[in-house]
Symmetry: none
DNA sequence: CGGGCTCCTGAGAGCGTCCTGAGAAGGCGT
DNA sequence: ACGCCTTCTCAGGACGCTCTCAGGAGCCCG
């Protein structure tokens, strides 16, 4: 299948590299400097989900088009949640694949990171939707902003002063940050935000 | 020139509308529901580049063929970067234009629909018809425009300020937006438009 | 082991955002 | 001129959000 697609794309003038399993595909995507990645979900060694999630966690925003035999709506949402840019279910015509690829290629030269993903947690700044293991979580504006900053910093530690500055726009009492971290922990689970005594907070992987 | 092309295409069986400047062309392309657009680069009021870029930014994937007197390679790349599907430099023969147009029409067997559809809700900018689960809904012009913008943004959140700017053309009191969201909710059902406190409104999937 | 510090958390007051009903002003067709 | 529809303003009120405070728990150090 991969060979067939590669041949077709080369016939259309694309320059194509091909990987046979998940890990080597991830490496190619990391260091190959590609314009677009076509990614199957079912892969030996590492699922396509994991590949795209890993890329996004490394702040790699190369456009990704996912392929899958599944066609449930949940699967599609999953793929897009993990950071894929488009989705195609088998069977598909080669012409459609071409059209979608061209659409991806002519998008913004620097597509903004649509979704922040860490582990089973995802936050979409555009839709203001936060999901934990696929289950939607309701956050207040302040809580949302705080989580967004923590996720953007992931996996680094962020000091309370920094959070106060960037989320609250400078107030004077850092206790507010502690209170809101408490709110987030109550909604997301205790382990989602770690306290680093004397330094601040971080979201563990 | 535009008149000559229009006559020629009509003689070939196409149904043609024609705009004399950039802004009106953009409006036609937006709401006309065309199968293909022929677009000159040099236009009064707004360049062809801007027209096609605006269309793509609005997720409008109508096939666009650009025309220009320039023939540098850079120009061609520019046009295609902004989202044009093909490019023709003057002078060109009418037969070539016809062939390229037919190729564009053949290309994507499943062009992105111009009708906006989210769930059981559909809005057709061309006919100004809104349906909810097959049942037609009567909207005032302002209500229609507001819903259209929300649907185009789907599933992203749109701030009241943005809506005020793009639907009302900048007033000063965002309460108007709240009132009209109320009107839409009354006609479409409560759950069709979500309030995202502190951020704006969104149409859920 | 005890003191001091950092961090957590429950309670509650105040405030802001958002919703809604009422109604005035304007446009348009009859 | 009349009635209908649309648009927009205004004010009241509900509810959720934000933040403060104070006490308590946990950690580090002497």
């Amino acid at each position: 299948m991969a060979a067939a697609i590669a041949r077709g794309l080369e016939a259309e003038g694309f320059v194509v590299d091909r990987a046979g399993d998940g890990p080597s595909g991830l490496d190619l995507a990391r260091f190959g400097g590609y314009d677009v990645v076509v990614l199957d979900i079912m892969l030996p060694g590492m699922s396509g989900y994991t590949v795209v999630r890993t890329l996004r966690a490394e702040r790699n925003w190369v456009p990704v088009l996912m392929l899958s035999a599944k066609d449930g709506e949940y699967d599609e949402a999953d793929g897009l949640d993990y950071g894929a840019d488009d989705y195609l279910t088998k069977p598909f015509s080669f012409v459609v694949l071409l059209a979608r690829l061209r659409a991806l290629l002519r998008r913004d030269p620097q597509p903004r990171p649509t979704v922040l993903v860490v582990g089973s947690l995802s936050l979409d700044p555009a839709t203001h939707v936060v999901r934990d293991a696929g289950h939607e979580v309701d956050l207040s504006p302040r809580e949302f902003l705080l989580l967004e900053h923590l996720l953007r910093a992931h996996p680094a530690v962020v000091s309370k002063e920094t959070l106060l500055e960037s989320v609250w726009g400078s107030s004077d009492d850092v206790n507010v940050v502690e209170v809101y971290v408490g709110y987030l922990r109550r909604k997301l689970g205790r382990g989602r935000i770690e306290t680093v005594r004397g330094a601040g907070y971080r979201v563990p992987s």
